[in-house]
């Protein structure tokens, strides 16, 4: 082969293999590191997978936060005013975490139905439900006026 062409071939092959590696790594990384979001009503309906990293969110139910006296374990209830989800976490809660305010938790759903969180994020908005939760509720057939009323059979 002509040396110039050979050089070009090498460059093109190099580029292709680099691109292939990059795409392969990207797809692999995306597949194993994407966290889906679920609201308490979806979790109660059994839509969420057990034992896989997911995100969940809603409002922290008034009066539900219980701290352990000995360590940093905490249990609280996240609600979308339709269904409740019990969340267990160990560690320091963010500054903006408060009862009656929006949170998003990252972690796994356990067999017994509670949520083992390894990260708790407080939402900056102080007044309303996190956007994801409001939309998830709407998808399940609830409008903001219905919050607080569990509509049987709605989906």
């Amino acid at each position: 082969m002509h040396p110039k062409r050979k050089q070009k071939l090498f460059i093109i092959l190099g580029l292709l293999s680099l691109a292939a590696i990059a795409i392969g790594l990207t797809l692999y990384a995306l597949r194993s590191n994407v966290n889906l979001f679920f609201s308490p009503v979806q979790i109660a309906d059994g839509d969420a997978p057990v034992g896989r990293q997911i995100r969940a969110g809603g409002m922290v139910k008034e009066g539900s936060v219980e701290r352990d006296d000995e360590n940093l374990d905490v249990v609280f209830t996240v609600t979308d005013y339709v269904d409740d989800l019990e969340v267990r976490y160990s560690g320091i809660l963010p500054d903006l975490f408060r009862e009656g305010q929006g949170v998003v938790v990252v972690g796994e759903l356990s067999e017994s139905g509670h949520f083992e969180a390894n990260e708790v994020m407080a939402k900056h908005d102080e007044n309303y439900m996190p956007k994801e939760v409001a939309e998830a509720l709407e998808d399940s057939g609830y409008s903001p006026e219905d919050y607080g009323v569990k509509v049987e059979g709605a989906d």
């Binding site: 580029l15 680099l18 990059a22 990207t26 990384a29 994407v34 889906l36 940093l72 320091i92 900056h124």
Partner: protein
């Protein structure tokens, strides 16, 4: 009376500036296309006028903040009479409207600087460059005027006091981080304008790259410092001791940095060898487009974070349209005109050219992976395919191997010759450096951490592989002179800039490696009298006290720390503040910084019975991360000071003088 009119004066100044920007966009470009000197001569005065009036508008807004004019909605929403004056000053850009105005001010400043410092450029080039910058400026000023007017009044119901600045933003980090970042973002508009001007004029020679390079380097240096400041701010302000979260907003600033880094290197090849021309132009377009994309992501409200203030959909749409027009038009110009400026130059497989090409490709691949991870959730959401988030593991899984791979080529690049060289020569000059890097990197984790850690070795070998070949090169260069010093003195500032910049990269990589692998974090429950040991330091809580600040109340924990030798004792005082105007709690971290380790203590929440949740961290070599970034930026600036850029200016001035003499004769 006059002080009451300040917001109106600012508003009018902004309108005039927008009109001037439109003129600056249309007349000089039309003049360059039809070769009319008078029309082209509009560019510089309009750039000056636009700068003056945007500055006036900006000063008016600042004055409204300083004078607590709560009839201005923007001031009422983001300031408070109790706020210290320096935070009133920085609160101007701590909100959507003000920050877009700052963006516009920076853009006008860069345009003005180009018009003042480009006397040596051909007239049509100046007209085109300023015309393109005027177009971008016009778009942004119209955006401010139409969707985000910072001077809007709430008459006649004037609030008694303002809602206060978000406490997270009441910090020195916020005073400097956004201006630096914006200077970088916006600074890439200059090289973008140069690229479009080159395409329009069909002229892209080495003189063009000599004009474009200093501007690119300065913008890149600003962006580097801006990103580092953001990381530093997040580290001490957010209270968890993380320094990079792969948050979409952080990614938005990293994207133009990656392509900007590729651009700097591609410009070097274009200047030295006349090749990669279309690629350089394309990178310039991409870099500025990614700056705009970053602005869109942060300002449109599609992301919720501490950075996104606005949730008005019309704003997002406006920036998206602006982005679409910019990218679409510039790529169209590129497609039509690039064949005219491109020029094939051959080079060997082993040469600095090809190594820089590989570096460019890797940087672009990194950009694409980060872009994909950032946009993928947004796209899925937009098409109603579900709500997902892409976490740090994705980015780490891709970014770490790509960075290591890039380091391999970074070590080779500075040693390789342009055009072609024998592979055996490269091997002869580098085998020792490679061997030393491997041995040190393999042994360091054993000495430092007590056990072998493959990740630490990998990070260190990457860092050493950048540094050691440079050392070898410096030794070779020193040997060539009569004395070592004369040999080194002969090197240009651009060369030293490269050395310092690459050294900075190595230092950042070392910092990242060590802090990621050897950090210790303990979350504990502490009451006065309790103590806990973390990484050889004993932290004892002495007492809890309370304090009243200007606009907050705070709980303070007094922690006495004793080093492992039992000798050094010092006190750290983390705080938990409650900002009164918003009723918002904030963590104030206590830091004991050092070159080899930071100690980091933050208060969590009160647990009752005088006990607090405390977060205690040991962060080895975390400072290296930002030190490296500062060195990288210095390297970029050092290269700008190179003699060849100054010589060009004085030569072209002489040429102008002789041209005038000919004309008058």
């Amino acid at each position: 009376m006059l002080t009451r009119m300040i917001p109106e004066i600012g508003h009018f100044a902004l309108i005039i500036a927008a009109l001037m920007a439109v003129t600056q966009a249309i007349v000089p470009l039309a003049g360059a296309a039809t070769r009319r000197p008078l029309w082209m001569a509009y560019a510089a005065p309009m750039a000056l006028g636009q700068f003056a009036f945007v500055l006036l508008a900006y000063l008016c807004l600042t004055a409204s903040y300083m004078l607590d004019d709560f009839s201005v909605v923007n001031v009422a929403d983001n300031s408070n009479s109790m706020l210290p004056w320096y935070y009133k000053f920085s609160a101007v850009w701590g909100n959507h409207e003000g920050s877009v105005l700052l963006w516009s001010l920076m853009l006008a400043t860069w345009g003005f600087a180009v018009s003042r410092l480009s006397r040596g450029l051909p007239r049509d080039m100046v007209a085109r460059v300023l015309g393109v910058m005027g177009s971008v400026s016009a778009g942004f000023l119209l955006f401010v005027l139409i969707t985000s007017n910072p001077f809007e009044r709430s008459l006649p119901n004037i609030p008694e006091d303002g809602a206060d600045l978000n406490p997270l933003l009441q910090d020195f980090g916020l005073v400097i981080h956004p201006p630096m970042l914006y200077m970088g973002y916006v600074g890439f508009s200059v090289v973008f304008a140069f690229a479009i001007a080159a395409l329009l004029g069909g002229r892209l020679d080495s003189a063009w790259t000599r004009w474009a390079r200093p501007w690119t380097n300065v913008a890149w240096a600003f962006l580097t410092v801006g990103i580092a400041l953001g990381s530093w701010w997040a580290y001490y302000e957010l209270g968890w001791g993380g320094w990079w979260f792969w948050d979409p907003v952080e990614n938005a600033s990293l994207l133009p940095w990656l392509t900007g880094t590729a651009l700097i290197h591609s410009l070097a090849v274009t200047e030295k060898r006349g090749s990669f021309k279309s690629w350089t132009v394309l990178l310039a377009i991409f870099t500025f487009s990614l700056s705009l994309l970053g602005t869109f992501l942060v300002r449109s409200g599609v992301l919720t974070s501490v950075h996104s203030f606005a949730n008005d959909p019309s704003r997002g749409l406006f920036i998206l349209v602006l982005l679409g027009i910019t990218v679409g038009l510039s790529l169209l110009v590129f497609a039509l005109r690039a064949p005219r400026v491109s020029h094939a130059v051959g080079f060997g497989l082993v040469s600095r050219d090809s190594l820089l090409l590989v570096n460019n490709i890797l940087l672009v691949i990194m950009t694409v992976t980060v872009l994909l991870g950032t946009l993928y959730p947004l796209l899925l959401d937009a098409f109603g395919l579900g709500k997902i988030s892409v976490g740090p593991p994705y980015f780490n899984a891709l970014f770490v191997p790509l960075t290591v791979l890039m380091c391999v080529f970074m070590g080779l690049g500075p040693i390789a010759r342009w055009k072609r060289m024998a592979g055996s020569e490269l091997r002869r000059r580098l085998w020792l450096a490679g061997l030393v890097a491997l041995v040190i990197a393999a042994l360091m984790p054993l000495i430092y951490g007590g056990e072998w850690n493959p990740w630490v070795s990998l990070g260190l070998v990457a860092a050493l592989w950048i540094v050691l070949p440079l050392v070898r090169d410096l030794i070779d260069k020193a040997r060539k002179g009569a004395t070592p010093l004369t040999g080194l003195r002969r090197q240009s500032l651009a060369y030293w800039g490269m050395v310092v910049g690459h050294l900075g990269m190595a230092i950042t990589i070392t910092g990242v490696t060590v802090v990621s692998n050897y950090s210790v974090e303990e979350n504990v429950r502490m009451s006065p009298g309790d103590s806990v040991e973390v990484a050889g330091y004993t932290f004892s809580m002495q007492e809890l006290k309370q304090r009243r600040g200007a606009n907050f109340l705070s709980d303070i924990a007094v922690i006495e720390v004793v080093g492992s030798d039992g000798e050094r004792r010092f006190v750290m005082e983390p705080e938990k503040r409650l900002y009164l105007a918003r009723g918002m709690p904030m963590t104030q971290v206590a830091l004991r910084p050092g070159p080899l380790r930071d100690l980091y203590v933050a208060m969590g929440e009160e647990l009752g019975d005088g006990a607090w949740a405390m977060r205690i961290q040991y962060k080895p070599m975390v400072r290296w991360l930002w030190l490296g970034a500062v060195l990288m930026a210095s390297g970029g600036l050092l290269a700008v000071a190179d003699r060849r850029y100054r010589r060009r200016a004085s030569q072209s001035q002489q040429r102008d003088v002789s041209a005038v003499q000919e004309a008058t004769a």
